[in-house]
């Protein structure tokens, strides 16, 4: 058994092996990441049963990005980075505050009852309208008569003063 693997001899062998181009993983599987997050987390914490762990380890061996990330992250799990207050506010706002339990009820503004008109008031207002119509009619008629008479008088006066054409000749 090797005391401190990998030896130079082993490295050379693996290099030759890789140059043969034989691979158990197809090209598409290298990019495909189908290990559920919870299973991967459980594997990192060494909590998976043997069969499930084997599936994760096979995926890690065939997916270089995944293995690289897991190696990097597993050394730093729990590492905290300072979060800006703006980001923190954005994240908190993802879940809106529930409506408050005690709501303030604002009543609708209602109009007061229509003022009831008494019969006397009603009679008086109709009388006022009728009187207005009567006055306007009388004044209008009188004005029309006056204007008519004035027009007739003016016409008669102009006829009287007009000199006949044959007298001029």
């Amino acid at each position: 058994m090797d005391d401190n693997p990998p030896s130079l001899h082993d490295r050379e062998f693996i290099k030759r092996l890789s140059s043969l181009g034989e691979s158990g993983a197809d090209d598409a599987s290298a990019d495909r990441e189908d290990v559920p997050s919870l299973r991967l987390a459980a594997w990192i914490e060494h909590r998976l049963p043997e069969e499930e762990a084997a599936a994760v380890e096979l995926a890690l061996a065939h997916q270089p990005h995944l293995l690289g990330d897991i190696l990097l992250l597993s050394r730093n799990i729990g590492e905290d980075a300072p979060v800006s207050s703006a980001l923190s506010q954005r994240l908190m706002a993802l879940v809106p505050s529930p409506p408050t339990d005690v709501a303030t009820v604002i009543p609708f503004v209602t109009r007061g009852p229509e003022p009831s008109k008494r019969p006397a008031t009603l009679w008086l207002s109709w009388c006022a309208i009728a009187a207005s119509v009567a006055v306007i009619s009388l004044v209008g008629f009188d004005l029309g008569t006056f204007m008519g008479k004035q027009t007739i008088a003016q016409t008669a006066a102009s006829d009287y003063l007009q000199v006949p054409n044959d007298d001029v000749d």
Partner: protein
């Protein structure tokens, strides 16, 4: 402490103060995890994306969490990593003419790890993973043992058995 199952139950019921405490307690952890995966100016948006994932559809993702299987911090770190990876995949570089492309874009990219080319089914998953960590990631035995929470001697013996199988397989082939 927030994040305990009792607090999570209240949070899932829509208890706003529990959500606020949850944000205060775990936003920094999620931010640190996202920063580990992607060094970018968009990390705040990714952190927000993680929290949206957690609370959307009536806390569907958060309801899937099982405290008996994994710690909340570990699980949230994995969820954050997944969101960050998705964001990296979604990102599309704008197309531009070759003349407008800076010279640096044509530089040889840094070494990208590829899976070891091991015949399917020849080795166990644990053997494949140990070889991957030793030969691809250049981890030493103590690091691998620490990561897998096993004895360094177990790592050595697993490695040894894997190499024997591989050599036997290829000597048969040749």
């Amino acid at each position: 402490m927030t994040g305990e199952p009792s607090d999570l139950e209240a949070l899932i019921r829509g208890h706003k103060p529990s959500w606020d405490s949850f944000v205060k307690r775990y936003a920094g952890i999620i931010l640190a995890a996202v920063r580990r995966v992607m060094a970018d100016s968009d990390v705040d948006d990714i952190v927000q994306d993680v929290f949206v994932r957690l609370c959307k559809d009536d806390y569907r993702l958060l309801r899937q969490y099982d405290p008996t299987r994994a710690g909340l911090t570990t699980w949230l770190t994995i969820v954050a990593r997944s969101a960050a990876r998705d964001a990296v995949r979604r990102r599309r570089l704008p197309t531009q003419t070759i003349d407008a492309t800076p010279e640096a874009a044509f530089a040889i990219p840094p070494h990208e790890f590829e899976p070891l080319k091991i015949p399917a089914g020849l080795l166990s998953a644990r053997q494949e993973l140990i070889l991957t960590m030793l030969y691809q990631r250049d981890m030493d035995v103590a690091e691998v043992a620490g990561f897998l929470d096993i004895d360094p001697q177990t790592v050595r013996s697993t490695h040894h058995k894997a190499m024997l199988k591989l050599r036997a397989h290829f000597s048969d082939q040749s």
